[in-house]
């Protein structure tokens, strides 16, 4: 997957290192190896590899990670533009 890179500098992923307990769940569930454990704390080592799937934030037991998860699908986004974010959207 390292051969595929998407647009840099757009990910909404934020790690609050202070609250991190170093359990390593984020590194385990991330499908793009965005996290690594450094000095018993999680660290973001590849922010631009993040696809904002939300697995890390959901599986962080202390809510130290925030990300705006979503569906990276153009027709879905067009529908949210037209109908609003909370609308029931039929897609892919």
């Amino acid at each position: 997957m390292k051969d595929y890179r998407y647009l840099p500098g757009v990910s909404t992923l934020v790690l609050h290192v202070d609250s991190c307990v170093g359990c390593g769940s984020c590194a385990l569930v991330c499908p793009h190896q965005v996290f690594a454990l450094r000095d018993k704390k999680a660290a973001i080592i590849d922010l631009d590899g993040c696809m904002e799937c939300g697995a890390c934030a959901l599986n962080c037991p202390v809510s130290a990670i925030s990300v705006t998860p979503g569906v990276g699908c153009a027709s879905y986004i067009i529908q949210t533009w037209i109908k609003g974010k909370d609308a029931v959207i039929e897609c892919c």
């Binding site: 051969d3 595929y4 499908p31 799937c53 599986n59 998860p69």
Partner: protein, 394 residues
Amino acid sequence: MREIITNKGSCDCGVSGMAGLPPLPMFQPEPDDAPCCGAPPGPPASEDERPGYQLCPFVERFVETPIGQTPQVASALGVVDHFGSLKARLGINRDQYRIAPGLYSVGVAGSGSPVLVTANYKLTFDALRRELAGVDAWILVLDTRGVNVWCAAGKKTFSTEEVVRQVQRARLEEIVCHRQLILPQLAAPGVAAHRVRKACGFTVVWGPIRAADLRAFLSSDQQVEEGMRQLTFTMAERAVLIPVEISLIMKPALWILPALFVLAAVSPQVSPGLVWRRGLDLALAFGGGVFSGAVLMPLLLPWLPWRSFYLKGLLTGLLGGLAVVVGRGGMGWDAVSMVLLCMAVSSYAAMNFTGATPYASPSGVEKEMRRGIPIQIAALLATVALWVGGQFWL
């Protein structure tokens, strides 16, 4: 199926056989004389058949468990399964290609066997059981509304709540003596492992991404090697997505194609032959755009320049458009507008492919759409302007 099991338990007849049969009658009456007409009758109904239910061809038998009878499935795929996969890949009734959620088994599953959790999209279920030849395991199928693991996790139908619900519904704590669930890693956007444990006492173990790695994972004491956690997007993995991409474009194409022929009729001299020829020019430019964006772009994805898909699509659309123009012997402004149409359609189709890739982030897609869509609209307006203008004024 559940209700039948309950009834059986309450009759207290002591039969614990395969299908809860009533005791055999004391004597067999002589069969009546067979009628002479027609073909000989087919085989009798299977003992597992129940009124109002349909047997699934992938179920080999029903095995007795503490919660009643559960289906044991074959690990080999049959002709029906392959045909079903083909239909789903072509986008035919894909939403309905699902199996009943609940507990299944493969091999000779016992109380110590692992529990694999998966989605109820039949394609997903088949991809899983195909890899389980020689493995004894339970398969807990969630109700993901017929959607695959990763997309269902994103849509939150493969969720913490659904895992807990199905664990309780299957009374899993009576089936197995351990307290462990193996989930595909790609279910993590929908399932919080720590919350599953809190809610039902089962610990989530994140298994490999691909079912193909499951056997190695299970036989190596659930060690996940580095490669098992890494996504791939090979030529074959991209190619298999193409038919669905095209089937999604077919619906709007039903009104776009007639509209193109109407546009072809806007001309100072109108004759059926001319309208047909010019309509075909536009239709082929549109078709070329679909091909360039939904076939060429996915196939050439890693080798095309730029990271934005709309740009990759513009490039393949340019190549496709030139090919159509050369093939049709297009000239002048008509040729330019055909190329522009092809590029706009290709760019849009390519941009839509982001949703099928395993690496595009929604923030990135939104960013490229804010640039791509105005360009696509401008190319379409230029197409119409040059196409019509070329007839009247240019």
